[in-house]
């Protein structure tokens, strides 16, 4: 009898602070599996965001820097420019990347910065207690949109993958979800691709991952997984928006 599934080496053997059923944990594991498969643990440097994933530096066994809110792509740029032969990735939430950090992500992508961005879109600000994010869906109730997001007042939910895919510096860009086993397998493939384009020096790689926040959505973890299918995917379609070799 052999082991067919176990904790990846790059994933620290600790209990995380994430809420029960929060899919940040699945995404951490997928990144760890990819790091193991590519054999890059000893030359990888992660950049942790401000958000629920702020403590990611305790959960993956690589070197880490913790960045100011939204600034992870600039911090990653500094690391990568100093050490071009290392693998550098950021792990950012939707408040971090799509609100306060829009300038940094757009310009890192536009420069074709050789970094990998793991962008976790859970349509809400998790860490601060469930306020509206730029990605919050129309009508979605949050702590700061108590009557549901009104697009006249707050604008439309931002589709970062589509927006960034227009930039020539981007080599790989996909949107995936981690709300069911088949999607999780696809998410891992996309994460691997986003690391591969960096290792092959092709350009900027990013994966937008639709993730759950059962706590602030006010849903049981299993129901939150369904909510991704019912509400998020129709607005945030899954797929690859840019693959290497595609010249615009």
């Amino acid at each position: 009898m052999k082991v067919v599934f176990e904790r990846p080496r790059a994933l620290s053997d600790v209990t995380t602070h994430y809420c029960p059923g929060c899919t940040h944990g699945i995404i951490h594991r997928l990144v760890a599996e990819v790091i193991d498969e590519l054999g890059i643990l000893e030359r990888t440097i992660g950049v942790a965001p401000v958000g629920c994933a702020v403590l990611a530096y305790n959960y993956l066994e690589c070197d880490w820097q913790q960045a100011a809110h939204g600034r992870a792509p600039a911090v990653a740029t500094g690391i990568k420019r100093a050490l071009p032969d290392r693998v550098v990735f950021t792990y950012q939430g939707d408040g971090d990347l799509a609100s306060i950090g829009t300038a940094e992500i757009v310009h890192a992508a536009n420069r074709g910065e050789r970094i990998t961005v793991i962008y976790v879109n859970n349509a809400i600000y998790g860490m601060t207690g469930g306020q509206m994010a730029p990605t919050t869906l129309e009508g979605q109730v949050t702590a700061t949109s108590p009557r549901g997001r009104d697009i006249k007042q707050a604008g439309h939910p931002m589709r970062m993958a589509e927006m960034l895919a227009t930039l020539p510096g981007v080599s790989y860009l996909a949107r995936v979800a981690v709300n069911k086993p088949a999607n999780i397998m696809k998410a891992k493939k996309a994460i691997k691709q986003a690391f591969m384009v960096q290792i092959d020096d092709l350009g900027f790689g990013m994966v937008e991952i639709l993730s759950t926040c059962p706590t602030n959505w006010g849903l049981q973890p299993a129901k939150a997984m369904e909510w991704v299918d019912e509400k998020m995917i129709p607005y945030y379609p899954l797929g690859e928006f840019k693959v290497p070799g595609e010249v615009k």
Partner: protein, 67 residues
Amino acid sequence: MPKVEFNVDRCKGCELCAVFCPQKIIKLSEGINKLGYHPATVKEMEKCTGCAICARVCPDCVIKVYK
């Protein structure tokens, strides 16, 4: 015979494994673990196919799968 092993004290009782297990053999146990949750457990291990779906949806890497 395929089997799953739970790192009981890491389980947060979110039940995602139970919901996604195709054999529907995972349940939350009566007892409480160190974290204060009812951890997931399998009664009829002989029905496990070792598909590892439970492990893949577990956000806390609680499950080790043998086949």
